[in-house]
């Protein structure tokens, strides 16, 4: 069978992401990955909670005097909105509207890049204050947790861009529909992790 078989909105399956054996396998495998990622992030959260505000005696930085909520609030809103825009992209994917899907994916990428830009600004700001990775157990745990999330954002952005570019002339078919579906799942998962980061690290950090 031809991978590049053309579809119309009328012949496009209800659930293109799981309409083929390949798609079904990817779907199950990817959710297994997300479950494993949940455990990865749990170990990083546990390390952070255990080492929060710990370090050499007399260290000047603590969560309650370091974090600034306005920046974190902006980052949260941006990432949350990008989660919605990728839902819009998948809505158009299911309606077999390739151009609209690409447009919404493009907006998602821009929002993700804005989030990453703010995170880089934040880290850079802390390092200039003297709160570097090797400053304390607290700083190492903080950068490892939030940085791993940031690395996931970067990977998600690269994945989106690679799929958009590689399939720009192909249009939607059974070959790439599962791929687009999975990257959007990945993006939502990144948002799920961020919900816990802004709650556990930033909000609980500020209240001490």
């Amino acid at each position: 069978m031809d991978l590049n078989k053309k579809y119309t909105p009328q012949s496009w399956p209800d659930h293109p992401e799981t309409a083929t054996m390949e798609g079904k396998n990817k779907f199950v495998g990817f959710w297994l990955l997300l479950a494993a990622e949940t455990v990865t992030f749990a170990s990083l959260f546990a390390t952070y909670l255990a080492l929060k505000d710990k370090g050499p005696s007399g260290m000047e930085f603590a969560a309650s005097n370091l974090f600034e909520l306005p920046l974190v609030f902006a980052m949260t809103m941006i990432l949350l909105t990008s989660s919605l825009t990728s839902v819009y992209a998948m809505y158009h994917m299911k309606n077999h509207n390739f151009k609209a899907m690409q447009a919404w994916l493009g907006i998602t990428v821009l929002l993700g890049a804005a989030f990453l830009g703010l995170e880089i600004y934040e880290f850079n700001h802390y390092v200039h204050l003297g709160f570097g990775y090797t400053h304390s157990a607290f700083s190492a745990a903080f950068y490892t947790l939030v940085g791993t999330h940031g690395a996931h954002v970067l990977f998600g952005l690269s994945w989106f861009i690679a799929l958009m570019v590689r399939n720009s002339k192909r249009g939607l078919n059974m070959y790439n529909a599962p791929k687009f579906y999975l990257v959007s799942l990945y993006w939502h998962f990144i948002d799920v992790v961020w919900v816990f980061i802004f709650t556990v690290v930033y909000l609980m950090g500020v209240i001490g």
């Binding site: 809103m77 919605l84 209240i207």
Partner: protein
């Protein structure tokens, strides 16, 4: 190959029906999004308002949990059919995650 699938061409009625179902679902997603924004606002406002940490901490953790349920069951479609295996994976993952966090913080805090 593994990309094979049965093709069914919808009649005009079937097509209009599924389009309507999808835009209905999309309205539901927008509602979830509005709730998520609202919950985030409550969490940030509660912290900015400077109440006692013993009051705020459980509340913001609960708000985070609700948001995650909305993401998983709304945006990530875990409420749809065919997600039994997915739920099994995710709940196992969350169980191990919970044990990991419990073990590490109790070792260090006590």
């Amino acid at each position: 190959m593994a990309h094979e699938t049965h093709t069914h061409v919808r009649s005009q009625t079937e097509y209009e029906y599924i389009r309507r179902q999808r835009s209905k679902e999309m309205r539901g997603q927008l509602t979830s999004f509005a709730i998520m924004i609202f919950l985030t606002l409550i969490a940030f406002t509660a912290v900015a308002a400077d109440f006692s940490p013993y009051l705020i901490t459980p509340i913001i953790l609960l708000l985070a949990a609700v948001q995650v349920v909305l993401q998983l069951y709304g945006f990530m479609h875990m409420s749809n059919k065919g997600h039994g295996m997915v739920a099994f994976f995710m709940f196992s993952g969350m169980f191990v995650a919970f044990i990991t966090i419990l073990a590490l913080v109790t070792i260090v805090w006590w």
